[in-house]
Symmetry: C2
DNA sequence: AGAAATTAATCAATCGATTGATTAATTTTG
DNA sequence: CAAAATTAATCAATCGATTGATTAATTTCT
């Protein structure tokens, strides 16, 4: 029988190569080879190399957004909401740092405008969720007055930095973000740090 | 007379294209065209496309390190030192966000190992400067006890995020990091934010 | 100084290799 | 048998690099 899903094979092999080599440096021949599939299958299933890329990105982004859209509910306090969202983002992004790396790379080369805007909009959407929570918190006085956009850059930037930068740099000399066990430890450590940072920074000072 | 420096022209045109399109997507033909130079001049002066890229990166990195290596001196307090370094980094990186973008892109594709390690080492060096300041501050009790590496990820990540992400996302709806005037405003805003954040986060709590 | 020799700079043309994509033929499946 | 899936072979286009020839500038020799 050995019925193999060639379509899925292509997606899997392509994602791995795109992450590793980037879009341009990845050839359709290499994708076909790694997927153990004839070259023409790529165009048969996805129309083009671009089609493969779009499919991968769209899937992951949709998946990402779906898992995060259900985080902001419930009658929690502003701080509880914010910490919950941060924890969700961190866990989600660090669960697949390779894809996050690829996404950022793509965002830094606005060559495929369609994909560029898809990523940008996805980010903007997530950003607005956080922005609303912080702004509301400031309005009702439970948060200090801060530069909201810059604070969001701090949150997102910290997560990205841990996900993308060579882990030997970020997390110390021993941990490797590409190792599953280490990644769990890094994730916990990052969440703890962000919580501590946000609580310390946003909690109003009790003046006399 | 009109003696033009073709070598410099090539470097300038190439950097612009590398930033905009990425290494792979930039053709030597386009570089030659934009530099108003014959194709063969690229190989004549730099040996190869890779040679051009290496030259650009090496120059910028050396320049960057030179400008920053002189920041950590003087008999300032730990906090003063740290804020000074952060201000220096921010100013320097935001003065050329395009290059920073390209550097991160390159760091996410370890295809040219030589360049990868050059960038990595440059970053590691800068990282160690900050780490020492923070660690010393913690030891002597002027800083709170925090996860140093993660805090560095926050500092670097925040700066990178502002430099790299589409500015409409980071800095609000009106500012554009590619506009010179806006960039100045963003730089000031980012420095203010980081100072506020770091001071708030690292200043020991005055318990009862 | 001036002719001769040497080096540096520049060019058009083209190389072989590789790219993404397509075709036409074949096999598998329902 | 007909539709879908798969293959090998091939397409034009583009890639980075190199060639041999030509011109401009510099150095050497007398």
């Amino acid at each position: 029988m050995e019925k193999i899903d060639k379509r899925a094979n292509i997606l899997e092999a392509a994602e791995k190569l795109f992450i590793e080599l980037g879009y341009e440096a990845t050839s359709t021949r290499q994708i076909a080879k790694d997927a153990a599939v004839n070259m023409a299958m790529i165009n048969y299933y996805f129309g083009s190399k671009d089609g493969v890329f779009m499919e991968i990105m769209s899937q992951r982004i949709a998946d990402f957004n779906a898992q995060l859209s259900c985080l902001d509910q419930g009658n929690m306090s502003g701080m509880e909401k914010l910490l919950k969202v941060i924890e969700g983002y961190t866990t989600r992004i660090l669960s697949n740092p390779g894809f996050h790396k690829m996404m950022h790379r793509e965002l830094s080369m606005p060559q495929r405008p369609e994909m560029f805007f898809k990523i940008k909009n996805s980010m903007a959407q997530n950003l607005m969720i956080i922005e609303k929570i912080i702004t509301d918190g400031i309005t009702e006085g439970s948060f200090r007055q801060v530069d909201v956009r810059m604070l969001i850059a701090t949150i997102m930037g910290t997560i990205s930095n841990v996900a993308i930068s060579p882990s030997k740099i970020t997390s110390g000399t021993t941990l490797d973000i590409n190792n599953e066990e280490d990644r769990e430890l890094i994730t916990i450590r990052l969440i703890d740090h962000l919580k501590d940072l946000i609580i310390t920074y946003l909690t109003p000072k009790n003046d006399t």
